[in-house]
């Protein structure tokens, strides 16, 4: 069962990590767009 738990935790962590990078990029772009205005 520990293999199953590890597989699911890593999957969710990788997806959450990617979503976080998208969020960081979003924040940076919004800041850059705000500065331009």
């Amino acid at each position: 069962m520990s293999y199953v738990v590890a597989a699911y935790l890593i999957t969710l962590a990788v997806l959450a990590g990617y979503v976080w990078t998208v969020w960081v990029r979003h924040r940076e772009l919004m800041r850059a767009a705000g500065d331009r205005r």
Partner: protein, 215 residues
């Protein structure tokens, strides 16, 4: 935003179904549950790289930036899901095969695909926006590895099992397992579509900011 919320609901629901509701498999026992994240990750990676392939061809034909953006963003997402395939596969292999990794045709061709698209993403990152044409050629050639991965387990003798869902005779899984697997596939593909849309919007904004800075 609706797609993102849907993905945020469907993925945890799929995890619950896979870990709690799905029946135990008689031969493998509990480790088979990794199927419910491994196979959806494979399917989503295939979908993503197919979009990259089509986007790259359209970009070479029409030279419109939107096709280049679509190819680039989809490749990035495909690489995320392919990474999940290459992580969950060995975690499943260890308790079932007794080995984390074996250099059989399917595993090796999947690893080659990962390196091809790692190269593709590095080319894009280091060359800037003008890398579109070269990147499109890399993506089109690299995509040829996808059917090779799928057919390697069918045509060659591999330790990796043959396809259990996408096969000419129909799925080999019992209905209770197949339904949960299809649910998870849908959840992963919707997650891909939600993130694809979000990243495409970001790339449009980035291009507008670049154009504004250059003017």
């Amino acid at each position: 935003m609706l797609l993102l919320v849907l993905a945020g609901v469907l993925v945890p629901a799929g995890v619950f179904l896979a870990l709690v509701v799905a029946p135990v498999e008689a031969f493998q026992g509990e480790p088979y549950r990794i199927l419910y994240v491994h196979v959806p990750s494979v399917v989503t990676a295939y979908v993503a790289f197919t979009v990259t392939f089509v986007g790259s061809i359209l970009y070479l034909m029409r030279r419109q930036a939107r096709f280049d953006r679509l190819a680039a963003v989809s490749a990035e997402l495909g690489q995320v899901f392919l990474t999940l395939v290459l992580i969950t596969g060995p975690i499943w292999g260890k308790p079932v095969w007794g080995a984390w990794w074996t250099w059989d045709a399917r595993l090796t061709t999947a690893l080659i695909l990962w390196f091809i698209f790692a190269g593709y993403l590095m080319l894009r990152a280091w060359s800037g926006p003008e890398a579109g044409r070269a990147a499109a050629v890399v993506a089109i050639i690299g995509f040829l590895d996808v059917p090779l991965i799928h057919w390697s387990a069918v045509l060659l003798r591999t330790l990796h099992p043959q396809p259990t869902v996408f096969r000419p005779e129909g799925p080999a899984l019992p209905a209770s397992m197949l339904a949960i697997l299809l649910f998870n596939m849908a959840a992963f593909v919707i997650t891909y579509l939600a993130l694809l849309r979000l990243r495409l919007r970001q790339e449009v904004l980035r291009d507008q900011l670049r154009a504004g800075a250059a003017a």
